[in-house]
Symmetry: D2
Subunit: 397 residues, 4 copies
């Protein structure tokens, strides 16, 4: 069982994550973690904070001499701007210099203040901020490292940004990730990329923000992750929660998703074939997104994740109420990006990797990397064995 | 903490569900359970099984003299067709009369056979079948009973069926549920209903199947269910998993969902206002679907859930492979419906009710109904109290 | 991950258990389940109910043609006395003929009434009763079946009954279980058995009850179940919870337990040796009870579990208060046994088997019996391989 | 739901803990955390490390201006000796200067090496070390702070050290904690204290170690924590796991525990009385240890926790095998204490506080301190209300 907890406020001294349940013997390198965190800052249209964030890392548990010990892994991501915030966000007795009483529509501010009994929106927004995803990305980097040893890789690319969509006829493969990351908006289609950048420029000029959609692709996942036997073990359900839990996500689909709901059944599924050479049952299409009956089919896993436009704008247009005076007003402003969709893709990869790795650990067991790989390989080998003779004898239907 | 396990195969002797974590003192009536199970069989386009299924119930634990004891509640839903299946599905030593070796695309069949080492698809499909949702609906009926005592109600209506869509400008309220259920396709718009029925007839004639989309509405949920503080406590994530875990669901959105991703931020959020009379902060729009920062806002919760067309067709068109001979063939046929979208709405209500009730229990605690209601009411009363003077003193921003 | 929920009241229509997480392909026979349930009724000093309880079983999910499907397994254990209780315990609206308002000291009665807001102790005691352990035993029988396939077996024997103790110098092995069960008090020492039976007779004559201590032995558990890496993964902690959760248990120890706390460190541990033939590290002693650092060592696991004397007596001596009148009185009387220690041993075996099987599933993964056995065997084989050369090169200390 | 994860190796840069599920508005002071950590170092017979350990703290999440935010709380406890260990325990690529190949009996060393595939015992022992309990104590300090606001306090005192026992006739109350901590061995009986110190001196002289027993007392816990309704919700089971999970614990008992198993039922329970003034049902005895039916009774909770003598000795007497050469030898030596029993008591308090606080959060719900206190107080008030008239009408038995 893979589990993790994150902690830390957006402008606190640091973020922290503890990941429990990874096998021993997995190579972990700080520069890989740093590289993955840098990917989370990618994308045209990010605000100045992305430049300040250097994501200084500390590996404080679970790793010795470059590989995991099987014990919980703790990673701290320091806030390089902490000196500026030390008073405002101090853990020690004190008081805020400014109390934020004009909650922003579209944010956790108001519901959080009511739920937790706060009169200062900062007590909510500091944790609700997407800065928290840096801690998830660190955890996800470990999950990706494990998956790599099982032949599985996860990537994402932007397929819609604001009103601009990209044709998804050609999907990037594992080898194309560098090219996707090199794109200003993490789009695999350069014509669409140009349109998206223009849309961002236009929104920026108006002090406005943009949402969009990312496609997540998982290559090489073995057949049989997740399960049909109980609702909370279905892989699509686990992925849906993981994606929807990302800040500002309002929409998740697997395979053809919404489009598929309008098809007829005769035209909505992936025919099964047989490849004697590999001993597998390939599909020519990905309508089901690589998940049938809540289980991975062994084919490409495809999901799309949609993000609403950021609710913090660079101009004050969103109507709200001051919770003290009850007067109508405009919401306060925190420094913000025009869009975070390209970066959100990296977070969505992270969540997919954590889910898939968790299910792989569940299926293959194993406390050391060698053991999980041995079990994984033994399972794959068993799949291409001859069918049990009982079936042959009974005569199939 | 509310938890439940379901068991039982589609053609086994019965389905079973155990629900743990409900308070004592909640009124439970078998006819209400039966009524809710009957709603799961609603909808034009269901196959003959829906008529056989009488869903005979047995309440075998946790309820005494018509109210809950706080102990786990066990409900058994008998399969009235069991005598016909007793040999084929016997728990005792024996053998199947027919081995299903031609897995159906779009179903759990193939992945399940590989994962669990079966050579007979029936060993998978019996559990993967949506018949299992009857057990969930029984559990959900208990959750709805609790929510009713907290002033919260859940309903659903069909907004798309195959290619036909319904205008969702006018949403049914809690009082309209009977009208929705009376519709042949559980659609609140009679013009769209006619088109949908026609589409079903056309598909039936072709031996084909249809998917569609349901909108789930939660009225009266208090502000502050779910939480922004940790990814796995976000209400939208919990709902997304619960919905996506329903058989054949490929798509989930909250509020404006996909449409909202293409808007600009200035036009994508729900302005906050103040209603002095009720002491609440109402919103005129439902773009966020009643969830901000992973928490309920106190407004209407809106989600849409999309189902692919059923993968079991009444004519053999889906290409597959016989797992024994490895020859290409058409998949076997189980008795099926043309569409199950209207019924799926009832299951989606169920999953929403279980999630919302679970979060209410988490927030309000309480072992008896009286205690949870007292805590709930105390919380709501506290929200309309005067703001803490500290905020007033510091001067809001 | 192995999980299970039980439901049902002592005099309700039946008990129910759902077990989720067992692999497919495991042989399950109703007569083995019935046999294990019959063992739970063993022991001199049981009341008449033990004769009424026939534990009629129904396997209603998860098993087809004599082996598991990987899906949740549901078992119902019918109450053969139900007709007598149908009115008093009806799930339908009605009222008790008698309201029990004189809670028994030592039982859940009073705390349960206060927690759940009841005025009738029956609303508590029906679930708090040890009758519930029949459902656990059914689940545990499945766990034992899995463990048997991994070469692991669990047994118990009574080592103290009331004031009478048995010398535990000679422990029963797996082959001795029948002999233990044949003993009137499930004691492996016939001299002690005689003393124990006399003690029971004496207590019975006085209308009194007796407690005692059971030793649980797990043979053949592989090294490395549980883990030192996190507090809630320690095998001893998991066992302690499982044992202490049995009704009336007040005391759990591993290995030498209490006696070991008074030793010096030089005399309190199990020296490690090497057996080249088996490639294992045997220990001549069992002071640690086969668990070091929260992990199984590969040796015999030894635990002792102590039960207080039953709090329901056949004569009214325990002082209590009528919760309505607040007058001092004697507690009401339910039909009872003089002692349930011999039977408790079977329940303790059950809980041990569920914990050990759960940890085996966690370590070895696997969705089918073949897969879990393959992974288990691969692990054991890897342990007797040559040590990694790196250690040899570095020069051990 | 209260949950927490700890991370960090004994000689790593720091320990880390994240606690999720505490309400907002709880006062947290670093000096209180530091004070509690200092208590964990108490006791005659500790080695030199206890003087080096200053337990420098960093509060890195979840606390702002001296009170909790409801978000996860992260605490880092720095290892002041880190510079000495930086190379040996570096997370970066490298190699140990010394490979420990002679596992110590009684420790996690050998089982951990086999489970995780290590050839260096340090890869296991660093995490298995009781140093990890410092992270638990930090978490427990937060739990104690919450309990204090609910009128509940937890303390411990040593009742046996090696062969020396203390009369437990007089138990320390909440006000006596300072006196207990001032004792060299955290014993409330000065005569026994003297004998215990002598025993430690004698063992120290022989290079040997001592175990012992601690009694944990919880004052002021409300009636109804835990539950009889499901095995894994019983308070005694939860406490047993929590205690047994502490390093070197082999023995847990509730109330009279082992001694009670030898009594007769007429003499083994706590008679119930009525106190009209407080509206409670007090007991004159604590035989059940304040837990009946898996629930707190509202009385004093009493548990005893037994620790085996430390397995690391200051002289090499424990026989082991070099895992490389397979030669018999003596186990390697880490710096150690003669006894850690007095400090273990503080860890046992910690685990009790975490369990009790977790159950209080479960019962009372609430996201802010004000809400949980309001719910708690409302529950207590409801208990002393008049009994429901239905009971009076029916006529109690």
């Amino acid at each position: 069982m893979l589990r993790f907890l994150t902690a830390g406020e957006s402008h606190g001294p640091s973020l922290s994550v503890i990941v429990e349940g990874l096998p021993s013997g997995l190579a972990v390198r700080e520069d890989e973690l740093a590289g993955e965190l840098a990917r989370r800052r990618l994308g045209y249209g990010r605000g100045p904070r992305m430049r300040f964030e250097k994501d200084e890392l500390r590996l404080i548990g679970g790793v010795r001499h470059g590989r995991t010990l099987g014990s919980p892994i703790a990673i701290e991501i320091l806030n390089t701007e902490w000196p500026k915030w030390e008073t405002e966000m101090s853990p020690h007795a004190g008081a805020p210099s400014t109390v934020l009483t004009k909650p922003r529509p579209g944010h956790a501010d108001l519901a959080g203040m009511q739920k937790y009994g706060f009169d200062d929106a900062r007590d909510v927004l500091e944790r609700a901020s997407a800065r928290e995803t840096a801690a998830r990305v660190a955890a996800g980097c470990l999950a990706k490292a494990l998956l790599a040893r099982l032949g599985t890789s996860v990537l994402s690319h932007v397929v819609a940004l604001g009103p601009e969509q990209a044709d998804t006829g050609v999907r990037p493969g594992p080898a194309d990730l560098e090219q996707v990351d090199a794109s200003d908006v993490r789009c695999f289609n350069s014509e669409a990329e140009r349109r998206m950048v223009s849309a961002i420029k236009a929104a920026a000029k108006d002090g406005d923000s943009l949402g969009g959609v990312v496609e997540v692709l998982v290559y090489g996942a073995p057949v049989g992750l997740g399960s049909h036997v109980h609702w909370d073990r279905r892989l699509d359900g686990l992925l849906a929660q993981a994606f929807m839990s990302i800040q500002a996500i309002k929409y998740v689909e697997i395979g053809e998703g919404a489009a598929g709901t309008a098809r007829r059944g005769s035209d909505a599924h992936d025919a099964i074939s047989w490849d004697a050479e590999t001993g597998t049952y390939p599909r020519a299409t990905t309508r089901a997104g690589g998940i049938e009956g809540g289980m991975s089919t062994g084919g490409l896993i495809v999901a799309r994740v949609g993000m609403k436009p950021l609710a913090t704008l660079n101009r004050p247009v969103l109507g709200t109420v001051d919770v003290v005076t009850k007067q109508e007003t405009k919401s306060f402003k925190e420094r913000t990006d025009v869009t975070a969709v390209p970066a959100m893709g990296v977070v969505a990869e992270t969540m997919a990797a954590l889910v898939i790795a968790g299910e792989a650990i569940r299926k293959f067991g194993g406390d050391s990397l060698a053991e999980i790989v041995r079990n994984h390989d033994g399972y794959l080998a068993s799949l291409s064995d001859e069918p049990p003779s009982s079936a042959a004898a009974a005569g199939g239907v």
